[in-house]
């Protein structure tokens, strides 16, 4: 009866893939959509430039949860560069439904959160590198 709430979307909402936590993620980020209260945390396990593991937690609407479920399936095994090149349209294609402008933020929260996690990750690496290059004081304040 409803184009948006197809069976597979609801299936991903009820039983999202990759829902849970990683023991030791190399990158993670909590993204939120303040307007609707959607909130997800993306955790990535990256080794040799490849996303080996991915998991997410959080709560939100069917669209944002299904999108996170589909996206995490999609990026597992991809290189960081490939993931970074993903566009909003790629995510909309994964969802396969017409998203109204009001719901775009819900649909794209997962990609946005992954992008932030990756950005944080590279920054951390740069910081670590800088720290290693600079003073030899091993103490880390975070």
């Amino acid at each position: 009866m409803d184009d948006l709430y197809r069976d597979y979307i609801l299936e991903h909402y009820r039983r999202p893939h990759n829902f849970g936590v990683l023991e030791a993620p190399t990158a993670s980020y909590e993204g939120s959509n303040p307007l609707c209260g959607d909130r997800i945390t993306m955790m990535l396990g990256i080794a040799d430039g490849v996303v080996r593991e991915v998991a997410f937690t959080g709560r939100g609407c069917a669209i944002s949860q299904a999108s996170a479920s589909l996206l995490t399936d999609e990026i597992k095994g991809k290189t960081v560069e490939e993931v970074e090149r993903m566009t909003p349209d790629d995510v909309l294609d994964l969802l396969g439904i017409d998203i109204s402008p009001a719901r775009l933020k819900c649909a794209l929260l997962s990609l946005d959160t992954v992008a932030h996690a990756l950005a944080d990750d590279t920054e951390e690496k740069a910081e670590e590198k800088a720290e290693a290059d600079g003073s030899a004081s091993g103490a880390q304040s975070h």
Binding site: Y5, L10, L35, C36, G37, A62, S100, C106
Partner: protein, 425 residues
């Protein structure tokens, strides 16, 4: 004879019943259909109300027949515009029983009215260590402006907590008043819980403690009789667009003495009496606070809305909406298994019902109902702290107005059953 006597007595105590079906004919938008050919079922009046023909025509009349600036021209059109604008002020004053129209400052909306008070009064009266008492149920519009004031002035905010039933904890309020706050600001009616606060009592308590009081009437003025003199408040703010008027219209009421003592909020044309290169004299109230060309047609429309509401009778409006609320709170739990309603009993609230369906995000609820032409609000309704208080990420909200009929609540219940069916399949 005996019959007549009882009818008469009844007339005195009970307001005339509104005929919402007849009222609906005044709202052209209610004759429209959505992209699926479904008639409009508008249950988001707390966000903004629909506009009756009388308001549409008032706005249109200005634009078609006498569009010109106010308080300036001396030709016929300008006099007409000025007359209509000032007549709108007088009607707005009458709606809330303000002692005089000059105490009504026209602004764009309730938010602007609160900011005006925060900038003009707040920044001059709140100092280091001074406190402002608010409540946990405030709309962001009556929270964030005060955060800015106390951050800048090194003051403090205190909050009256909300009970699980959605009522203000007046015993805590009393304790907070011992802090001798400079200002107490609270909403008359909650836009999420629907709670009608005991404002008169709260004003008395605040005054006894030496505080001034600002009441956010955005959800009250459209739905019930408001008499600012009886309430005894110092500042009272509301938006035109929630009371059947156009967007871009709103009002601040404050006692003359306060307004006269307050410095201007914005500066420019219209708000001055005399301008010299290095200093100026302020105009009299309310013009001192109305710098620049206002939204003339919107305010004229707000005046028409006030007139429309007064013709219906605010007691009747309140009775109609209370009946709808009672009906909704009875029908929804009965027809929609598992639905969770928030806020106090129907007797203690305005026409607002917030709820959730278990395991279904309100955005999905609103999206599915949209198909059936049902307009419902989903989100935090600009009350994030209140949602946090109830540990909710978001809620769905149905809100009513003079044109709402019980059949629309039935349609909502049926729509919600469909939502549950879709998610349970």
């Amino acid at each position: 004879m005996a019959d007549l006597a009882t009818t008469q007595r009844k007339d005195q105590t009970e307001p005339a019943r509104l005929d919402p079906y007849q009222i609906r004919a005044d709202f052209p938008i209610l004759a429209t259909v959505n992209r699926f050919g479904k008639p409009l079922i508008y249950l988001d009046s707390a966000a903004t109300s629909l506009k009756p023909q009388a308001v549409i025509e008032a706005v249109d009349g200005y634009n078609r027949e006498y569009s010109s600036n106010i308080h300036r021209g001396i030709y016929e059109l300008a006099e007409r515009a000025t007359g209509a604008y000032e007549a709108a002020r007088a009607k707005t004053a009458r709606l809330i029983n303000a002692p005089e129209p000059a105490e009504i400052v026209f602004v764009r909306n309730a938010t602007e009215a609160i900011n005006l008070v925060a900038y003009s009064w707040g920044r001059h009266h709140i100092g280091r260590g001074d406190s402002i008492v608010l409540t946990e149920m405030e709309h962001h519009a009556n929270l964030v402006p005060w955060q800015l004031v106390v951050q800048e002035k090194d003051g403090d905010l205190e909050f009256v907590p909300v009970t699980d039933d959605g009522l203000l904890q007046l015993d805590v309020y009393e304790v907070l008043l011992h802090l001798r706050p400079k200002l107490v600001a609270f909403t008359h009616v909650s836009n999420m819980l629907g709670t009608v606060n005991p404002v008169r009592e709260m004003v008395e308590m605040a005054h006894a403690a030496g505080a001034l009081v600002l009441i956010d009437g955005a959800q009250a003025v459209p739905h019930a009789p408001v008499d600012v003199q009886e309430l005894g408040a110092d500042f009272y703010v509301f938006s035109g667009h929630k009371m059947l008027g156009p967007t871009g219209s709103g009002a601040l009421w404050a006692r003359r003495g306060l307004l006269e003592a307050m410095p201007p909020f914005m500066a420019g044309g219209d708000m001055i009496r005399e301008v010299h290169l290095r200093r100026s004299d302020w105009n009299e109230i309310p013009y001192k606070f109305e710098a620049g060309t206002p939204d003339i047609s919107a305010q004229i429309g707000m005046g028409a809305a006030a007139e429309y509401l007064m013709a219906l009778g605010m007691e009747s409006v309140r009775a109609h909406e209370r009946e709808l609320t009672r009906y909704a709170m009875e029908v929804l739990p009965r027809e929609v298994p598992g639905i969770e309603l928030y806020g106090p009993a129907a007797e203690l609230r305005g026409g607002v019902v917030s709820f959730n369906l278990p395991g279904i995000h309100p955005h999905d609820v609103a999206q599915i109902l949209d198909r059936s032409g049902i307009c419902l609000r989903a989100g935090h309704h600009c009350t994030m702290p209140l949602h946090e208080r109830f540990d909710l990420a978001a809620t769905a909200r149905a809100s009513f107005n003079v044109y709402t009929v019980p059949e629309e609540i039935d349609a909502l219940a049926a729509g919600l059953r469909d939502v549950v069916r879709i998610f349970d399949r």
